[in-house]
Amino acid sequence: MQALEQAIRDKARALLASGQVRLVLGYQAGSVPFRTAPAFVRVPEEADCLVWNPFCTNNLAVYLPSAARAGGQVAVVAKGCDARSIVTLIQEHQVPRDRVVILGVPCTGMADAARLTGGDGSLHGIAVTWDGEGTLELSDAVGERSVAVRDVLQERCRFCEHNTPTLADEMLGDAAPAMPGAAAPFAAVEVLADRPVDERRAYWRAQVERCIRCYACRAACPACYCRTCFMDKAAPCWASKANTADENWMFHAGRAFHLAGRCVECGECERVCPMGIPISALNRMLDREVRERFGYTAGLDPASVPPLGTFRPEDPDPGSSEER
């Protein structure tokens, strides 16, 4: 039994047994060994279903606004990115601070299951075990092999700068070492940003042309908590339900701007996209802008005010006629 997993179970059990919280949000074993599923634990006896491994990828903060509205206190298992999402939800008055108990888990990065496939390109029938440290043992039709989690990380995890939660009521473990790409979080998007504008326009058009408007990106995003999204409004109708590259771009660009200075780069939007659209590159570009213009990084300090949620006369105004 791995120590962190045991700590999560013990803490969940104690919080439920004492009646301090009515619900613990965590991870349970999934239907296959390379996935977990969000767990809603309500009684101490069920705390042992909670797991911790490199497949605890979901950002559970997405469930918090409705869980908090339902009353009582809710505990949530939070990786670094999840904790940053919780900070933004507190800042934006979606989750009262005193309703959430943040169980911080230091994260060493989540594995990208697609990188575990054998030579036949399939994960069918694969058995996966984690050694509790940095290695996954795999066994499938192709044979047995072991891979380092570091070598199969999800892209967003490689660039994660805050893998140890910055806000937690209780830290369940020691701080995790920095992620490999943390020193240059914009390295990948800068390659894209440096291309000529026509090329970028063509690139994004080709990407959004493939969008099927399933809205999984929006649904998985803790910051997309609007109860009626602008895309779903019939009056006024901001965008058509017709699937065209223009309308799809309206959605993706609109969503990206709504998330400017709010996105914590948990990357869930991109992970859940069934079409493989590199959605979070848009968010990361805007995050870079916000950091450069306003010196602000989302999701670190619940007492701070997000730059696009406030106004000061001395704010830089890159769009003004003087600066142009």
Partner: protein
């Protein structure tokens, strides 16, 4: 396998020639890699040959029969001068090349709905009649696949005109219909020997052996009910996106919308899904499926109860896309196992 038409062999070196020949008379669509991990059915061309290896594509060919958005009619003017003009049904001769058995079978389920006993959808019917399906037997299951649990097979022929089976340096070509014979006759094929046909049969058996049935379909169907425990449990973590429905080769629900400009406009239909709250919200605000619990019940019950009641066949071919792409690991196989009484 049909004995009505001769079994053939197509050497792999002759594949490109066959495809180029077909391109002269048909729109060809087939599996193409969009990204490193996502393969969809896309239009083929001399510079874009189909990818005929690996697991089934991540996206089904449904859009070629039931486009995500399609015009029904356009209108001009207003008042007494309003003029409507019906959009002509699309009848472009099309070959879906390398379609997997689950996806071909799914079109038969769409036929149940759109070419039904009482109503026939002219747009769907036109495309369907113009489409020929050249199948490819699956050698490698994807991790969510469960065709054998819902009456299908990695080498199933339902709905197909031709079934190709990869035999290494050549394809076994099983011709199943006259339309298939028309295509395969032009392919530069040679007659298959008894050994070839036996080799294909062995491949099919190997593929089936890799995916034993996970539950008893009849038992599951019998126990799908209105007030079953799984609905609330599934809904609790469901994020209410449309990935399952939009990737599903048999989900077919749509919305109808007008796009109006000062001079006229277009009435189109577009995919919609029971997983969206807006899907059932009435004009006055009432929603008969007020929470995700009712919506979770709807999707599974539609496939495994309502369509069974109506047409005698479940509306699922076990392609497993909903399983693989659910952001929160809602696995319809686990739900069906539970209904079949075979554990969670």
């Amino acid at each position: 396998m049909s004995d009505q038409y001769p079994q053939r062999i197509l050497p792999k070196v002759a594949l490109r020639g066959w495809i180029e020949q077909l391109l002269a008379s048909y729109r060809l669509v087939g599996p193409v890699a969009d990204t490193e991990t996502v393969t969809s059915y896309r239009p083929l061309g001399p510079e874009r040959m189909p990818c005929l290896s690996g697991p089934r594509p991540a996206v089904s060919p449904k859009p070629y029969l039931l486009p995500q958005t399609e015009s029904l009619f356009t209108f001009e003017g207003s008042g007494p001068a309003l003029a409507l003009s019906a959009t002509a049904p699309d009848a472009t001769p099309t070959v879906v090349f390398g379609v997997r058995p689950c996806d071909a079978r799914a079109l038969k389920r769409l036929d149940d709905v759109f070419l039904g006993r009482t109503e026939r959808d002219v747009h769907y019917e036109s495309r369907r009649q113009a489409t020929v399906l050249v199948g490819l037997a699956c050698a490698t299951p994807s991790w969510g696949c469960f065709c054998t649990s819902v009456g299908g097979s990695p080498a199933g022929t339902e709905g197909l005109d031709v079934l190709l089976t990869d035999l290494g340096d050549r394809y076994h070509v099983a011709v199943l219909t006259l339309a298939g014979e028309t295509l395969a006759g032009a392919a530069g094929t040679v007659g298959a020997t008894a050994d070839d046909t036996e080799a294909a049969r062995v491949r099919h058996g190997e593929a089936e052996a890799r995916m034993p049935a996970l539950f008893d379909l009849e038992a599951a169907v019998q126990h799908v009910r209105w007030d079953a425990p799984p609905w609330a449990r599934v809904a609790e973590r469901c994020l209410a996106c449309g990935a399952c429905s939009y990737l599903c080769p048999t989900c077919h629900c749509f919305d109808i919308q007008d796009e109006v400009t000062p001079d006229g406009g277009v009435r189109f239909r577009c995919w919609d899904t029971c997983q969206f709250g807006e899907f059932t919200r009435m004009g006055a605000g009432h929603n008969p499926r007020p929470t995700q619990t009712e919506r979770a019940r709807q999707r599974v019950s539609h496939k495994f109860k309502y369509l069974v009641d109506e047409f005698g066949r479940a509306g699922c071919t076990g392609c497993g896309r909903c399983v693989e792409r659910c952001p929160v690991n809602i696995d319809i196989r686990a739900i069906l196992r539970e209904f079949a009484g075979e554990g969670r």
